[in-house]
């Protein structure tokens, strides 16, 4: 998940330490519908996966993002 934390830190311009926490969308200053698009593209390119629309819409916390990415990688 280190690669995922790097993406979170880079996308939301937060420290690596912050990226390791379970922050929710309202708790991250730079997280809105526009940066969410950047996040999804970065994740899909990094892990070579294609997330479903429902999964994308449910990824509203760092923990949800980690669980979702893990689900795709384990599949």
């Amino acid at each position: 998940m280190e690669r995922l934390n790097d993406i979170l830190a880079k996308t939301f311009k937060i420290s690596p330490g912050e990226a390791e926490k379970d922050l929710t969308m309202p708790e991250v200053a730079g997280w809105d519908s526009l940066t969410h698009m950047d996040l999804i593209v970065a994740i899909e390119q990094e892990f070579n996966i294609q997330l479903s629309g429902d999964d994308i819409a449910d990824m509203l916390s760092f923990e949800a993002i980690r669980q979702t990415v893990k689900k795709y990688l384990d599949a």
């Binding site: 809105d32 519908s33 526009l34 969410h36 629309g53 429902d54 994308i56 819409a57």
Partner: protein, 249 residues
């Protein structure tokens, strides 16, 4: 243009730029028809400025615009200044991945923004210009654009309408110039108004401020001064006056 004794219509006069501009014009001796769809706000304005003439009108409705313009010309016996200020700011990305079940930009929102920001300027300007040309009277149309006309992320509808407003300004400057009617646009950047606060999240606004060389939002009085300059300088025509602290250079 000599302001004392001139006659003006200001749309969206109930709040923000429109209200401040109305008070400024009145203080300069201009007879002002304050146009707004909010009767309560117009009443509050009239309570503060008894000299103002108020007209309740939804400028996105052409029938109401035609009637209001006729009423103003009848009351004022002419007009030299039109300021198309009424507008709304709505934010939405073209595709919102977080929005279910339909991720696409709302059609309703699109039509609403186009009606209020773009159609209203067209309706009001054609009605006023027709009467100005008919009377062979000189004048100026000032359209309020926005820095968003250059294409702000998350503002498809708002940006499109403001770009349209700037295009109409340039067309009318060319078409009406021979009649002595000027058209000028004023394009504010991010200004400290209630409308801005309501439309833009604080964290997003802070990002824009951080990118502004002057590191602050603009003030309403700084926009009003620019509108007054556009009205008074008889050789400005077809220009877009940007007031954004250097955000776009």
């Amino acid at each position: 243009m000599k302001l004392d004794g001139a006659r003006a219509i200001v749309t969206g006069a109930g709040a923000g730029f429109g209200r401040a501009l109305t008070l400024k014009l009145l203080s300069a001796g201009v007879k002002v028809a304050a146009v707004d769809m909010d009767e309560t706000k117009l009443a509050e304005l009239a309570a503060e400025a008894p000299d103002v003439s108020t007209f309740v009108c939804n400028v996105a409705d052409n029938d109401q615009v035609e009637k209001t313009v006729a009423d103003v010309f009848s009351a004022f016996n002419g007009l030299e200044i039109l300021v198309n200020n009424a507008g709304i700011m709505k934010n939405a990305p073209l595709i919102n991945l977080l929005q279910r079940p339909d991720r696409k930009h709302s059609l309703e929102l699109w039509h609403q923004v186009v009606s209020v920001n773009q159609n209203s300027v067209f309706y009001m300007s054609r009605a006023v210009a027709d009467k100005m040309v008919g009377a062979r009277s000189k004048g100026v149309i000032v359209n309020i654009s926005s820095i968003s006309a250059r294409g702000n992320i998350g503002q498809t509808a708002y940006s499109a309408t403001k770009a349209a407003v700037e295009a109409m300004t340039k067309v009318w400057a060319k078409e009406l110039g021979s009649f002595g009617i000027r058209a000028v646009a004023v394009a504010p950047g991010f200004i400290d108004t209630a409308g801005t606060a309501a439309a833009i999240e604080e964290k997003m606004l802070q990002r824009w401020v951080d990118q502004t060389p002057l590191r602050r939002t603009g003030r309403i009085d700084e926009i009003i001064a620019t509108i007054m300059f556009a009205i008074e300088n008889d050789f400005i025509n077809g220009e877009v006056l940007s007031v954004n602290g250097g955000l776009v250079l």
